[in-house]
Symmetry: C2
Subunit: 365 residues, 2 copies
C-alpha cells in the first residue's frame, strides 16, 4: 500500500488523476482528448523477489507520460496470483465478479481477499472499469525473466505474442507390490510405465515441435514413493507452450497417441486429463511494427522479435484491446529473487525503444 | 506382550522351558541331549497386517516339537524393523549391543526402545545368547508374500537362499528455471536427465540380468516438483536383487556405466551413492536337500526351489548357523494386510513337508 500511495503522488506529479480502486489497481487518468494508450504492469511481485519484475513496466508507463505522450497508467493488482489469477487486470476489463472476490483467498496464509482489502483500507471502494474504447492499445514493458536476449547478446525483445499453454496430468495405475517378492514378469510398475511414457515424449516432441516450443515435466509423484515398494500409481504433470495454435494441436495429438501407445504396450493403465489451457495472445501487428522499427533504428542487430513464454497482464488486456510488449534482458535470467537486475544501459535503451515505438504507433494509427 | 505370554504357555505345554528376554525374544529351550534344530520366526508383523506373516513360522516350530522332534523354538523380536533392523535375531546371535539399544527409536512414534522395553516390563532382563553350537541348523517356515507359487500352481517353495540387495541413490543436479522463459536449448532439466537415465536402465538391465533378478525405482523426488518449474534436482532410489554375487556385480557395473554415460551426454551432473547393501544368504545344501526330498515325496510336481526375494530372520541366523527356509503360497500374494491368507490345505501340506524335511535332515546329519 505504501508503494501504491507513492505511485499516486508520482501520477499526480506528471499530470494524471490518480486513484486506487476497490481491488487495489492504481490508475492514472489523463485528460480525455484524442487517441490514447493504456500502459502499465504490476507493482507486487513474488515475496522476497526483485525490484524490476512488474515495477519496471509501471515506471516506464509514467515515463511515457512525462515525455508528453497521451498515456493512461495502470498498476494492475496481484499479477503474481497471491489471491487468484491476474485479478487486477481482470477486474479492470470487467472479468472479475464480486462473488469471485468473496471466494478468493491468499494461497500462502489463506487470508480472504475481502479481509485483505479491508485491512488495506479499500473496503467498499468502487472498482474501476474504464471505457476501453478510449485506448488504441495497451502496452507493457517487462524484464525477460530468461536468458534468450542475454545469451544472444541482444538488448531488446519485441514481443510477438504470449504463448498458449496446456497443462496435462497423466496418471498411470498399476499394482503396488513388494520389490523382493514380485518377479519382473508379474509386475505392474506404474513408475516404470511413466518413465517409458516420458522417454517416448522426449523422443517424439523434438520431431514435431515448433522453433520455440517448450515442454516440461515439472512434477512426478509415485505412490507410495518408497524404496522397497513397486509404485502402484504414478502421476505426471506435463505442460507445453507455443505461440502457434497449429503447433499446440500437433503436440496435443502426439501426447494423445503416446498415451494410447502406452495403453497398448504397458500393463498399467494410462489416462490423461487437461488441467488448464490458456489460449495464445497475439500482439497487435501495428504495435509490433512500431516497436520493431524503433528497435531497428535505436539498436540495429541487437534486438529480436520473440514470443513471451511467461504470462503477463497483457494476456488479460489482449482479450479486449490490441496489445504490445517489450522485453529488456535479465542478468543471468534471474527473476523472482532479490538479485534480479538489468544493466542500466539496457534499461535506458529499452525505455527509449518503448517511447519511440509508442510515439510511432500513435502517429501512424 | 499378550501374544508373547500366550506363546510361553504353549511352549511349556509342549515341554520346553519358556522365557522372554531383555529385547523381547521368546525362547523355548528343550532338554539338551543330542543334535537339535533351532526353529522359529517372528510374532510381530506390520501394523494392521495379517495373521500369517511371521506367526506361521513360530507355530510351525512349536508343531515340530509337538511331533517329537528335537527343536528349540524362538520368536525373534521386531523382525519388521519398528525399532531397527532385525534386532531380535541379531541380539540372539550377539550382534546387537546395549549401546545400540540405547540409540534405537520407533520409526513411527519415536519412542525409545529402552522406554518401550520398560513399558513392556522387560527392563533389566538379560538378553539370551544361546550356545549356537547346540544347533545343526536354524530353519524357518514362512508365507511367500508373492505370487510365484500361486501363479505356477505350486504349493511349496524350498528356499535356495535369500537374495542380495543393493540400494542406490542417483542424484541429478541441474538448474531450476521457469518453464515459460527458458528455451529447450538453455535448460538443465534434472528430471529429464533422470528419466533418460531410467530409460537406459530399463533398456540395459534385461540384457544382463539373471533369471530371477529384480530391479525397481521405488522413489523419485523432483525439486521443487511444481508444474511450471523446470526441476533443478532429481533424486532416484533404485534397488536390485539377485542371489548370485556375479549377477549383482554385473548389474552394479552396468549402473556405474550408465551414470558415466549420463554425465557424458547430459547437461546435468549425475552422482550415485550406495545407501545399503545386503549380502546374499545361501541356504545350507543339506537342509535344502532334506526339504527338497520331502517336497518331492509329499507334493511331486507341485513345489519348486526358489530364492527368497524378501529378507527374513534367517538372513541374520545365516551368519552363524546353516539355515533353511520353506515357503507356502500367499493367496493373491497379499501380505502386510489383514486379508493376508493361505489355503488351509497348503498350510497343512507345508507343515508336513517342513516336519518331514526337518526329520530327514536330522537323520542324515
Amino acid at each position: 500500500m505504501a508503494s501504491r500511495h507513492w505511485l499516486c503522488e508520482l501520477l499526480a506529479e506528471v499530470g494524471l488523476e490518480p486513484s486506487i480502486d476497490g481491488i487495489g489497481n492504481v490508475f492514472g487518468r489523463g485528460p480525455a482528448t484524442g487517441p490514447r494508450l493504456l500502459a502499465g504492469s504490476h507493482l507486487e511481485t513474488q515475496n522476497h523477489a526483485g525490484w524490476l519484475d512488474g515495477a519496471l513496466g509501471v515506471v516506464a508507463a509514467v515515463a511515457l507520460v512525462r515525455a508528453g505522450l497521451p498515456v493512461d497508467v495502470c498498476a494492475y493488482a496481484d499479477e503474481e496470483g497471491h489471491y487468484g489469477n491476474m485479478i487486477g487486470s481482470r477486474s479492470l476489463i470487467g472479468d472479475f465478479s464480486e462473488q469471485q472476490i468473496d471466494l478468493a483467498r491468499n494461497k500462502n496464509d489463506d487470508t480472504s481477499l475481502r479481509d485483505a482489502l479491508a485491512s488495506a483500507g479499500l473496503a467498499g471502494r468502487p472498482r474501476l472499469t474504464p471505457d476501453l474504447s478510449r485506448y488504441k492499445a495497451a502496452i507493457e514493458m517487462h524484464i525477460e525473466q530468461g536468458t534468450q536476449l542475454e545469451s544472444g547478446n541482444l538488448r531488446v525483445g519485441v514481443i510477438t505474442g504470449i504463448v498458449a499453454i496446456q497443462h496435462w496430468r497423466m496418471t498411470f495405475e498399476g499394482q503396488q507390490d513388494h520389490t523382493g517378492g514380485t518377479t519382473m514378469r508379474e509386475r505392474r510398475d506404474a513408475g516404470l510405465s511413466a518413465v517409458r511414457f516420458l522417454s517416448q515424449v522426449d523422443d517424439a516432441f523434438p520431431r514435431i515441435c515448433g522453433d520455440r516450443s517448450v515442454w516440461t515435466t515439472g512434477r512426478i509423484v509415485l505412490e507410495p514413493n518408497a524404496t522397497a515398494i513397486i509404485p502402484g500409481r504414478a502421476e505426471i504433470d506435463f505442460s507445453f507452450r507455443d505461440l502457434s495454435p497449429e503447433v499446440m494441436d500437433r503436440l496435443q495429438a502426439c501426447l494423445r497417441r503416446l498415451v494410447q501407445e502406452s495403453n497398448r504396450r504397458e500393463r498399467c493403465t494410462a489416462t490423461m486429463q487437461l488441467m488448464s489451457e490458456l489460449q495464445p495472445t497475439l500482439c497487435d501487428p501495428a504495435v509490433l511494427d512500431a516497436f520493431s522499427s524503433a528497435a531497428r533504428e535505436l539498436c540495429p542487430d541487437h534486438w529480436q522479435a520473440m514470443p513471451s513464454g511467461a504470462i503477463h497482464d497483457s494476456n488479460v488486456l489482449g482479450r479486449r484491446l490490441p496489445v504490445g510488449m517489450l522485453f529488456v534482458p535479465s542478468i543471468n535470467g534471474i527473476s523472482h529473487h532479490w538479485t534480479e537486475d538489468t544493466k542500466e544501459e539496457d534499461l535506458v535503451l529499452g525505455m527509449q525503444v518503448f517511447a519511440r515505438g509508442a510515439e510511432e504507433f500513435l502517429a501512424r494509427n
